[in-house]
């Protein structure tokens, strides 16, 4: 799973992003407790509104629901083909 386009409809709180050239990637999760969490190779940041129209802070994140962890069993973790998403306390 390495794009935000096909597994994350507008009702999803998670966006994956990949720059084709240079093979750069990132992930944005809209949470209830920490606001926006942005994870990328450089590290994790939270509580801020990512900016930019082409990157992981693309506008549709504003329209999405906050993550409720699927009532304790996050489906994104279960279905991630490469097991790159983990749920931690």
């Amino acid at each position: 799973m390495n794009r935000d386009s096909v597994l994350t409809p507008m009702t999803s709180s998670i966006i994956l992003h990949v720059e084709d050239k240079a093979d750069y990637f990132g992930l944005v999760l809209k949470t209830r407790s920490e606001g926006m969490v942005m994870a990328r190779p450089e590290g994790v940041t939270s509580g801020q509104q990512p900016s930019g129209s082409g990157g992981p802070g693309a506008k549709p994140i504003l329209l999405r629901e906050q993550c409720d962890l699927c009532d304790g069993e996050p489906k994104c973790v279960r279905i991630c083909p490469t097991k790159c998403i983990k749920a931690v306390d």
């Binding site: 794009r3 386009s5 096909v6 409809p9 050239k21 450089e42 083909p81």
Partner: protein, 392 residues
């Protein structure tokens, strides 16, 4: 109708007319569905039509359900990466492209809309420039762009269409069809959604099947899991990351960098790099004595120009490759046997390839995972509310 839009979009480039036609569920569920339907549409609209299509399982949660198909007069090629799924999410299961445009331009498909966008400035540009330009014009970096660069414009028999920036899927000379139709690109973006019959069962059955595959296949090594050419030390030293298509747990693509430290992943990185997928081209390059770095540089140039690299490398001594790339010439395609082996030595069952591709599944993955319709029956039935035809 589950997992399908139930319609094909048709654009006649000669007249500019755009229309839609319905597709019956029975047709979409048929044997080798996308291949059969593509041929049927081509026979209906003219054998010189190009047909882009998707399988009934494309975009489902069945492992590696990433594939679409591009059918031309002289052959077909898979649409992998995220192109197949994005195409299906545009609102069309198939797109038929008829005639030839009076001026250069690209087809732009999204949200159930097909239009021709005049773009004479893109003619002559390389495929990377076209992808960047289309994405800039339409304001979305996630648009999928098929184009064939200047070699496609020149209708070279060894032109290859490139998906966004990367080549390897087109071994049928489909790139030349872009030139014949005066098309500089075909672009699409999928923002739709699909219903499945029982989402909970589909999710769980597909996750279980995927887990079973992963436990059996073990840890993948990208392209090196499929070809010794990518297991060489000089290739491994260039690998930045392995990359999977939609829904694939066992990546078969390896992204390499030749000028920057491949171990660094940062937004500040400048080198475009190259996504290796084309096993036969890499093996051909190595057989000619090219290092992994030299092979990557050559294949990058081929992707930008819209050239099928095996054919280029079969056309003469390696010293002449740069000269050939500089301007499209009449170069004979490589042998059919070589091009037909594009899926790699792991796949020898042509029929299985076609069944997989027709369903929307990646043949390269399913050759590794062992294709067995019974193994994913619950995944299919929960998605479609019925089974597939089994008379194949």
């Amino acid at each position: 109708m589950f997992l399908a839009n139930g319609r094909a979009g048709v654009i006649d480039l000669s007249s500019g007319e755009v229309s839609e036609q319905g597709l019956e569920e029975g047709l979409l569920l048929g044997r080798q569905s996308s291949l059969e339907v593509a041929e049927r549409l081509a026979s209906e609209h003219g054998s010189d039509s190009l047909v882009l299509g998707t399988g009934i399982l494309t975009g489902s949660l069945v492992p590696a359900a990433c594939a679409g198909v591009f059918r031309g007069p002289n052959g077909r090629a898979p649409l992998l990466g995220h192109a197949g799924v994005e195409l299906k999410l545009t609102g069309f299961d198939f797109i038929v492209i008829k005639g030839a445009a009076p001026e250069p331009g690209y087809i732009w498909i999204r949200d159930g809309i097909i239009e021709f966008v005049p773009a004479p400035a893109l003619k002559g540009m390389d495929s990377w420039g076209r992808t960047d330009k289309v994405r800039d014009q339409q304001g979305d970096r996630k648009i999928q762009v098929l184009s064939a660069g200047p070699w496609g414009d020149a209708r070279s028999p060894i032109a290859q269409f490139v998906t966004n920036y990367w080549g390897g899927e087109d071994k049928a000379g489909l790139g030349a069809e872009f030139g014949r139709k005066n098309l500089v690109a075909v672009a699409f973006r999928g923002m739709g959604e699909f219903e499945v019959s029982d989402a909970g069962v589909h999710f769980e059955s597909c996750a279980r099947l995927r887990d079973e595959h992963i436990s059996r296949l073990g840890r993948g090594e990208g392209l090196a899991s499929f070809s010794k050419a990518a297991a060489r030390e000089d290739f491994r030293s260039l690998v930045h990351r392995d990359s999977a298509c939609f829904g694939c747990p066992y990546p078969c693509r390896s992204f390499v960098k030749v000028d920057e430290d491949p171990k660094v992943m940062a937004l500040a990185s400048k080198e475009p790099g190259y996504l290796h997928y084309d096993i036969v081209a890499l093996e051909k390059a190595h057989s000619l004595g090219l290092s992994a770095r030299e092979a990557t540089q050559l294949m990058t140039k081929c992707a930008r120009a819209g050239v099928e690299p095996c054919s280029l490398m079969s056309s003469g001594p390696r010293e002449g490759f740069e000269g050939l790339l500089a301007s499209p010439k009449e170069v004979t395609p490589a042998s059919k046997d070589l091009l037909d082996s594009a899926w790699g030595s792991a796949i020898s069952d042509r029929r299985m390839n076609e069944v997989c591709l027709g369903l929307g599944l990646c043949p390269r993955y399913w050759a590794k995972a062992t294709f067995d319709l019974g193994s994913f029956g619950p995944c299919v039935e929960s998605a479609l509310g019925r089974g597939l035809r089994t008379d194949w």
